[in-house]
């Protein structure tokens, strides 16, 4: 059987499949449940300085099985209460990555310190939510902003920092380069794609917030393009995310250059057992293709493979 374990920014993961931020991520028991279901690690819901209820419903819309639109509005219990949840997730044995969002580099740094104190193994910075006023892409939409936030956080904590970037940019790889300059240990790509749905019978946007973010299979080709370009333009390990629901999707991301992967929307369509199926399926697919370790597939679709990466 092919070896699925990967090493991401110093973390040893039993397989590349991480629970994506915002899915099963508010309660520590749920985080532990994703781990029990077979995830290689779990990323928390993005946590802010104070509790946030998020936007009113409707917060989601689905398209058959190929896409989903959401504007949750970053609901979260706030960093004061969140340590209890992390504790529950850690008690279940899950390697936990803490996701945070803030409005300024200073707020990010302070949240990072507090999240680090909970015992998470790494931090993921949400620089990329496309529908939260004052957060997400509004503070992480330019290379300058990304660099400043990543630098502030990297200086504040010793943990590896994953910068989660947006595809809603003329040059997503440029955002990854900025994260690299700021001291990120890895980059996660992608968050959702800015999108909208209208109900023609009710003559209004479906989501209460209007604009939302597209996820699921529909954005897999978009995420792959970002990972591909980041692989060619930075030396950072990449966490691929967007539309992964089958082993083939996962291997596409690995071959495009991702070292680890996140799974979100597939959980809504296929249930949490998708983690077990993805791990089994990837092992089988690697065996079929004669690839001994998931790590050997990373970047394999680039002409020259790993040699295609810029040297420093």
């Amino acid at each position: 059987m092919a070896e699925l374990g990967v090493r991401l920014a110093g973390l040893e993961l039993r397989n590349p499949f991480l629970l994506a931020s915002g899915i099963w991520g508010e309660s520590g028991v749920s985080l532990g449940g994703a781990w029990s279901a077979g995830a290689g690690g779990v990323i928390t819901k993005s946590i802010g300085s104070v509790p946030r209820a998020g936007y009113p419903n409707p917060t989601i819309e689905t398209y058959d099985r190929w896409g989903m639109l959401n504007a949750m509005g970053l609901p979260n219990p706030g960093i004061d209460e969140y340590p209890t949840e992390i504790a529950a997730a850690r008690a279940a044995g899950a390697p936990v990555i803490g996701s945070i969002f803030g409005a300024t580099p200073e707020e990010f740094a302070e949240l990072a310190r507090r999240m680090a104190a909970t015992g998470v193994l790494a931090l993921e910075l949400n620089l990329s939510c496309p529908h939260a006023e004052g957060y997400g892409t509004e503070v992480g939409g330019t290379p300058e902003e990304v660099e400043a936030i990543v630098r502030a956080v990297s200086r504040a904590v010793r943990l590896p920092v994953l910068a989660k970037i947006t595809p809603n940019s003329a040059d997503p790889a440029g955002l990854a380069e900025a994260a690299e300059r700021g001291g990120a240990a890895a980059v996660s790509a992608i968050n959702t794609v800015r999108a909208l749905a209208i109900d023609v019978r009710l003559r209004r946007p479906v989501l209460a917030h209007g604009l939302g973010g597209l996820s699921g299979s529909a954005i897999k080709p978009v995420g792959l393009a970002c990972v591909w370009q980041i692989y060619e333009r930075t030396r950072l390990p990449i966490v691929g995310v967007g539309g992964i629901s089958r082993a083939e999707d996962a291997l596409e991301y690995l071959m495009a250059g991702a070292t680890a992967l996140e799974v979100g929307t597939a959980i809504a369509f296929d249930g949490i057992s998708v983690f077990g199926r993805l791990a089994d399926g990837l092992a089988r697919l690697l065996d079929e293709l004669g690839i001994a370790r998931a790590a050997d597939a990373v970047g394999a679709a680039h002409p020259g493979g790993a040699a295609a990466r810029p040297s420093r």
Binding site: N57, P75, G78
Partner: protein, 258 residues
């Protein structure tokens, strides 16, 4: 993937409760719920009180602002509906006790109808604040169920909470199963009585819901998601594996007592 339907009928069930009927296609099972979108307002989970046939329905009790606006909606007005979601009741019991508090009868009535259709004998303990608020008493009687009523003010049936008559019925008779839906403290009591008498109980549970797809974690309850693993749960698992009756989560995901 919402369907916009027009309300075809509005039935005032009690001073605080209204049933809205509308055409809706997808097959549903008793105990399942739909997400009802009131355009410009909110989208709320509502159990289907009419589960079969072309004309479905939800029965809404006046609680906060949104539910009050929903029950003011009239025939002809459009609402968005998606679902059904979740898992309903196990309909295999032969001797059934249904214990309903407040709007809990909304989900127990269609489930009891389905059980009766499969040959079950159903007894209903029906509680409300006052006589006029007793929901679906006639509907239960029409399906052949025996109805024992309780009101807080004693204006009908036994005075006091419905948990009293429920406990008495469990002591006096034999049941294969207890179903209960209502305020969480009521359900806890009913489950306690059922346990004491060795009867397995199922509860229909409410939690704050957003996606209804088992994804967003808003409705997390221990290791479960109420939207996809529930809303109907075996009481044993609720008590042993979850914080049922002790705390729930507000829309931000914070634990709040109760």
């Amino acid at each position: 993937m919402r369907t916009v339907v027009r309300i075809t009928e509005r039935v005032v069930e009690t001073p605080s409760t209204v049933t809205l009927r509308f055409p809706y296609g997808p097959a549903a099972a008793p105990g399942q719920f739909v997400m009802v979108w009131v355009p410009g307002d909110d989208e709320l989970p509502m159990s289907l009180s009419y589960v079969d046939g072309p004309s479905r329905g939800v029965t809404v009790k006046a609680m906060g602002d949104t539910s009050r606006r929903i029950l003011r909606l009239d025939a002809g007005q459009p609402i968005g509906v998606r679902g059904p979601y979740g898992r309903g009741f196990d309909l295999s019991a032969r001797r059934l006790l249904a214990v309903a508090g407040g709007s809990g009868a909304a989900v127990l009535a269609p489930a009891a109808e389905a059980a009766v259709a499969r040959g079950a004998r159903v007894t209903v303990a029906l509680g409300a604040t006052t006589a006029a608020e007793l929901l679906f008493g006639d509907r239960f009687r029409a399906m052949g169920a025996e109805v024992v009523e309780a009101t807080d003010d004693g204006s009908a049936g036994v005075r006091g909470f419905v948990t009293g008559p429920a406990d008495r019925l469990l002591a006096e008779r034999s049941f294969d199963a207890v179903w209960t839906c209502g305020p969480e403290v009521m359900m806890l009591k009913v489950v306690g009585s059922a346990r004491a008498h060795g009867v397995p109980a199922h509860c229909s549970v409410e939690r704050h819901m957003k996606c209804a797809l088992g994804m967003c974690d808003a409705c997390a309850l221990g290791p479960f998601h109420v939207c996809s693993d529930g809303p109907v749960f075996a009481a044993d698992r609720l008590l042993s594996e979850t914080e049922f009756g002790r705390f729930h989560r507000d829309p931000s995901g914070r634990r709040v007592p109760g």
